[in-house]
Amino acid sequence: MKIKILLILFAFVLQVQAQKYYTKSGITDFKASVDAFEAVEAINKSTTVIFNTESGEIASLLFINAFQFDIALMQEHFNENYMDSNKFPKATFKGKIHDFDVLSETFKSYKLKGVLNIKGVEKMIETEALLCKQDDKIILKGEFFVKPQDFNIKIPNIIRKKIAETITIKMNYELVKK
């Protein structure tokens, strides 16, 4: 009987600890600019991120057509010609922050590993993520690099030189308790 009560209590404590933090307006931006040519960069301000502080698991999702470019025509080409955003509307990431422990007010670096899915193509990503806790928020920052050809993104030869071979993707998320 005592063991049963203990088990129930234990399960209850575990459930309380399994806390989730999330955002629906996280900022993800990418840069594919080459010096001396027009800047190729865009910002997405509606990235969804869910982070489980108990397991360190993280899942995120963004919509390709929510990337904002300074130049409208570039945005159009990005959606229609390169990303085919009608057919592949979203990009997702599922992974884990390794050795996640208690957060402090200063940024600490953690290993972030997971699977990135762009245009229906999956690729393993490994990078460093900076995390800290400010008031009730968890701030997550980081960047990683991808190559267009890894995700079946074809760039015509004419503009090949104007787009960087490696694209930098930056994450900047402010997560609140769910």
Binding site: K24, S25, K45, L61, N65, A72, P89
Partner: protein, 121 residues
């Protein structure tokens, strides 16, 4: 003749520049493809999402939560504004009408996302 050529190239140049640097399509320029409540729109979106992507919709519903960058209608549609102006908390639980652009169905949070939202009423 020289003047004619200069004017000609200036016009061609302007046309090219205007094509390349044309302004972003604002929500007001778009045709509204749906008008109704969030719940009905979600049903339509779940039938065939591709039909609704990047389309302007008009929704009337109750504001169920407000955050720094937007608000949620009927717990199922998250609306972001472009300007980033925060809605006052007094609007909570009030019914409003908005126009926004469908960006996609978020299956992590199970809600539809709109951006470029403007409040009509």
């Amino acid at each position: 003749m020289a003047i004619f050529l200069i004017v000609f190239f200036a016009i061609v140049g302007l046309v090219i520049i205007n094509t390349i640097y044309k302004p972003h399509k604002s929500i007001q320029d778009r045709e509204i493809k749906f008008s109704g409540t969030p719940v009905i729109l979600i049903k339509e979106v779940n039938k065939d999402f591709t039909k609704w992507q990047d389309k302007a919709v008009q929704l009337t519903g109750k504001i169920t939560s407000i955050d720094n960058l937007g608000f949620t209608l009927e717990d199922v549609v998250y609306c972001q504004t472009n300007t980033g102006t925060k809605l006052s908390q007094q609007k909570l639980n009030k019914t409003i009408t908005i126009i926004g652009r469908v960006i996609g169905y978020d299956d992590l949070l199970e809600e539809l996302k709109l951006d470029q939202t403007i409040i009509v009423n």
